[in-house]
Every structure is written in C-alpha cells, then in structure tokens.
C-alpha cells in the first residue's frame, strides 16, 4: 500500500513535469508542424537562468521563475526570427531534425562553457521543501506544488485556447493556415506568439521540475526523446492528449523504476510501442 501510494505520487508529479514541458512542444507541433528537438534545451536554459538568479543574484523562488521564463523567451526570439521561421509547416522532417539537433548541440556546448559541467541546484523555498501532512501520511510539499502547477497550466491553456480571441485565431491557423491568412489573421504573429508561449512553458517546466529532472548540460539531449515521445503518444496539438500521455508515461516509467530498477527505461519505451500500435494518431490526436 505504502509503495503504491509512493509510486502514484511520484508518477503523477513526474507526469506533471513532463506535461508542463511537453505541452509547449505539442502546441508548436500541432500549429507549426515543427519537430522541435531543441525544446528540452529551452527548458534547460530556464533552469540555468533560475539557478543563476537565485544563487548569484539572490532572487526569491517566484522571481526566479519569472526571470527564467522571460529570459528564455528573450533568448529564443532571435532563434525564431533567424532559424525557426524557415522551417514552419512546409519543410520535410529531416531538415527540421537536423536544424533543431544543431541548435540543441550549440546550446549544450554554450551551457557547458558558461556554467560548467556540474549539476545546478535550484534551492527550494522553505514553504516547498518540507513534508506536507495530509492526515494519514506525510508527503513532500514540492510534489504537491508540481502537481498544482500542472493542473493550473492545463486549465490556463484550456481557457486561453478555447475562450479567448487569440485562441480562436490560433485554432483557425491550426485547422487551415492559408485560409486563416486570407481571412486577415496575421499568421506569422500567431506563430511567433505560439513559439514564445511554447518556449516559456518549457522554461517554466524546467524550473519547477528541476528536482525531478536535474539541470546539467546534457539535460537537453537526455530528455529530448522523452518530451517528443509524450507529444507523439498524446497526439500533437492536444492538451488533453498531452496530459493523459504525460500521466500515463510518468506512471509507467516510475512504476518500472520502483519495481524493476535494473531495466532502466525499458518499460517506458515498451509502453510507447504498445500505445503507438493501439492509437496510431496518439491518444487524442486528429488526422492531419
């Protein structure tokens, strides 16, 4: 019973971290059809910026998150203008893979050059670091915080995409970009805003998930595959799909690591293959 509870809690919080980071990638893939392998690198930049802000500038946790999100978006703007814009929608998968792997490699190299190869801690504030008493047992407060962040992110995104003017334009561009363009929607602005949103979410996830996915230069490469898998399993562009996929895969991975740690990521990828065959378009994906 104790084990099941621990697995459940760790699995869900790990899944929520995956969700916060991957949802940006998923939206990008649904709208711009870009297989952005550098998404993990942006999450990593967020982590580094937060760590730098807290340890060297003495900022608080909340401020560090804001600094990380805004800083990462600022860093990513020139990349969007110079590089990503070229590969939206039209180019083939191989070009996208190479360009974004290239960006990832450059970011890893620079991160190591600037911050060094060691793990960077993002110290938690006292309010989040201790255990939380939920009546019948103690659980780490940070896990609860991560889960809350995930739920809030999902709700906010749902509101943004389903209830606002921006969301309407965004959905129109996803469904038919050329038609949206000819109806007077400035699709290039929608693309740029979505890119910033995706990168910002990635950075946010990188900071709040740093306890579970520690920040170091090879972060970008190590979890790149994981994020991509979540998006593919969930179906690109679907919030519900990404949430379901994140929780499912988070639980599968955590269960595998608790019960058979020597198998590493075996169960995670086994689950991926099984789901790919049962749901070829992802759990909640639509045909494009």
């Amino acid at each position: 019973m104790q084990t099941i509870l621990s697995i459940g809690l760790d699995g869900i919080s790990y899944g929520m971290v995956l969700f916060i980071i991957s949802i940006g990638l998923s939206i990008m893939m649904g709208l711009m059809r870009v297989v952005n392998l550098a998404h993990g690198a942006f999450a990593m930049i967020g982590g580094y910026l937060a760590s730098y802000a807290m340890r060297d500038l003495g900022a608080g946790y909340a401020l560090a998150i804001v600094v990380a999100v805004i800083g990462t978006i600022v860093i990513s703007i020139p990349l969007e203008i110079l590089l990503y814009r070229r590969i939206y929608r039209k180019s083939d998968a191989l070009t996208q893979l190479l360009l974004t792997i290239g960006i990832t490699f450059v970011i890893i190299g620079l991160a190591n050059f600037i911050f060094g190869p060691t793990l960077k801690a993002i110290p938690l504030p006292n309010a989040l670091s201790g255990p939380l008493d939920i009546g019948f047992r103690m659980i780490p407060t940070h896990r609860v915080f991560v889960i809350a962040c995930g739920v809030v992110t999902a709700l906010a995104l749902w509101l943004l995409i389903d209830k606002t003017e921006f969301g309407i334009r965004l959905r129109a561009s996803v469904d038919n970009s050329d038609m949206a363009d000819s109806l007077g929607i400035r699709t290039e602005w929608i693309y740029a805003a979505t890119f910033a949103l995706a990168v910002g979410l990635g950075a946010f996830g990188g900071v709040v998930g740093a306890e579970l996915l520690p920040i170091e230069p090879f972060y970008a490469l190590r979890y790149m595959v994981t994020f991509l898998v979540v998006v593919s399993v969930g179906g690109a562009g679907s919030i519900a799909g990404a949430l379901a996929a994140s929780l499912l895969l988070g639980l599968a991975d955590t269960t595998g690591k608790y019960l058979a740690p020597e198998y590493g990521e075996f169960f995670f990828y086994l689950a991926v293959i099984v789901i790919a065959f049962l749901f070829p378009r992802g759990l909640f994906g639509r045909a494009h």
Partner: protein, 333 residues
C-alpha cells in the same frame, strides 16, 4: 529530375561496371590516403570504417525510402553483440563471424522495419527511437549476454584466411575492414540501381503513386530495412572483431543521432554522399574533439545549422553543383 539524369547516365555508360570500378578505386584511394595521414592511428580508421557501414545502411532506409529514424544504432549493436558472443562461444573464423553479423543484423532490421514502416511522420520517428532505446535498455540489463556497462570483452578472432593475424597496430584489421567496405559498397551501388532499389526511391517520392502503379509498399520497405540491417550488421561485426570489445555506446541514442548527422552532412539518397559525409565528419571529430569535447558539440551544432541553411541537400550535392559550374565555365572559356 536528378534521379532521371542519373538513370540516363547509367544506361549510356562507356563500359560496363564503370561505377563499380569507381567505387573500388575511390575506397582504395581513401584507404591509402588514410594510411598516409594517420599511420599511427589505424585503429581510428578501422573504427571509422565500421561506422561508415552503419551510415551506408542508414542511407538505404532514410535516403532511399524516406524513413526518418533515430534508432539505427540498434541494428549495428545487435550485430556487434551477436558477433562478440559467437566469438567468445568458439566461432573464431572472421569470415564466418561476418556472416553471423549479417544474419543478426538482418533479423533485427526485419523486426524494426516491420514495426517502424507501418507509420509515417512523427509516430514513425518516435517508434524508431523507442525501439533503439528498448535495445539499449536490454543491452544494459542482460549483462550475462552483453557484459552490461562493462562491455563485452575478450573477442579474439582467428587470423583472416588463416594467414593474417589481427596485430596490435591494427594493420590487418584496417586492411580487412577496407576490403569488406569496398565489397559492400560495390554491391550496394548495384543494389540501389536494381529495379527494387528504383521502386524504393519511387515509394519515397510518392508512395500513393507507387501503390497506383501496383507496388505493394509495406513489404518492400520491410525488405529494404532487412537489407539495411545486414549492412549495419557487417559494420557491427567489423567493429566487434577489430576492437575486441563491444560497449553500450554501440547501441546508444547518441550513435544513432550522430550517423544521421553524418548521412545528411554528406547528402542522403546517395551512397557517395553517405561515404563522404561519414569520412569527413569522423576525421573532423577526431581532430577537434581531442582538444575539447564541448567545443566540439558547439561546432557540430553550428555546422548542422549551416548545412540546413546553405546546403540542404548535403555536401556532396553542393560539391557536385560547384563542380559542374566549374566544368561549364571551363567549357565556355
């Protein structure tokens, strides 16, 4: 268009087997050049040849069938582990061991092909990654077969043809690998121009049209994947025999990503491009990464971005265009 022009060229060639002869001569020339440039580092060149075979193998599925995969190292690694185990188990004849590698690679290729080619786009890519990672996780877990993270060591094959022992300066290993590479390259040059190879190109360009003219797409892709597995198996076999040890790096994600980079650097869909990209990349890596592995990553990243922006069809295509311009200018003058 480019494929049409190559077809025209092959039909009116001056004498039979011109392309094959070119292949053998180029590889021999590369071998001599390598021997002169790195006389003290034949082990590096031998390793380079093993990886080159993996790049050629990847070209068959990515370049000729349009299947983007980031899990191709699995084919190489399975071949290498099979050869390592066969050798430790008592099969020490190098040619026979190559056969073991080919069989293991073919089986692995057919299995992954059967799974991967059912899908297109992102699910295909993710499935290829998943299979690669599954093999990597198993290689780590089944340490009785693979040696786990320590690697599988103690692979000591007999002398080649009973005459040439694998020496510590890698002279035999290098020559043997070079000959195997030349043979495989020539066979592949023929294979990709066979009706089967041409049909695969047709499927890559437009699979719906290929179906309309009566091609059954799925089994052909699986067969191509199996052939690709055989080539990767040869690479793995050479790697296991000449290095004497098989490590987890031979099934790693990094290996898969790296060979994809090499292939696209040279130019996918062209065996010469694969050869060229693999040789250039690895020599570059050998020199730069010796100084600083992280600068190496930054440089490779910048190189990749530059290629996508300025030479999207690979270096070999860029060189070919330049060359034809030079020739045309020369003819005009």
């Amino acid at each position: 268009m480019s494929s049409l022009s190559t077809l025209a060229k092959t039909s009116d060639r001056a004498f039979p087997f011109a392309a094959e002869l070119m292949g053998v001569l180029s590889i021999a020339a590369l071998g001599v050049l390598g021997f002169l440039l790195f006389p003290d580092d034949l082990a590096f060149l031998t390793r380079l040849i093993g990886i080159t075979l993996l790049v050629l193998s990847l070209d068959l599925v990515t370049g000729y069938c349009g299947i983007a995969t980031l899990g191709h190292a699995a084919l190489f690694g399975v071949g290498a582990y099979a050869v390592g185990n066969a050798c430790i188990g008592g099969v020490r004849e190098p040619i026979l061991l190559l056969g073991v590698g080919i069989v293991a690679g073919t089986i692995m290729g057919a299995i992954s092909g059967a799974l991967i080619t059912r899908f297109r786009g992102l699910p295909q890519l993710v499935l290829s990654i998943a299979i690669g990672q599954l093999v990597a996780a198993l290689a780590n877990k089944l340490s009785s077969v693979t040696g786990g993270s320590d690697g599988l060591s103690g692979i000591t094959p007999d002398p080649v043809l009973g005459l040439f022992r694998f020496d510590m300066y890698s002279r035999t290993a290098f020559t043997f690998s070079l000959i195997v590479l030349a043979v495989v390259f020539v066979l592949l040059l023929r294979f990709v121009r066979s009706p089967f190879g041409l049909l695969c190109r047709g499927i890559r360009d437009d699979d719906l049209r290929a179906q309309m003219i009566g091609a059954v797409v799925y089994p052909r892709l699986v067969i191509m994947y199996a052939v690709s597995g055989a080539v990767a198996g040869v690479g793995g076999a050479l790697n296991a025999m000449t290095a004497g040890v098989v490590g987890l790096d031979s099934v790693s994600f990094e290996r898969s990503a790296e060979v994809l980079v090499m292939l696209v650097l040279g130019g996918a869909g062209n065996l010469w491009g694969a050869l060229f990209g693999s040789v250039v990349f690895q020599i570059f890596e050998h020199i730069v990464s010796a100084t600083n592995p992280f600068h190496w990553m930054t440089l490779v990243g910048l190189l990749l971005i530059a290629i996508v922006l300025f030479a999207p069809r690979g270096l070999s295509h860029g060189v070919a265009v330049l060359w034809s311009k030079v020739v045309r200018r020369g003819a005009r003058a």
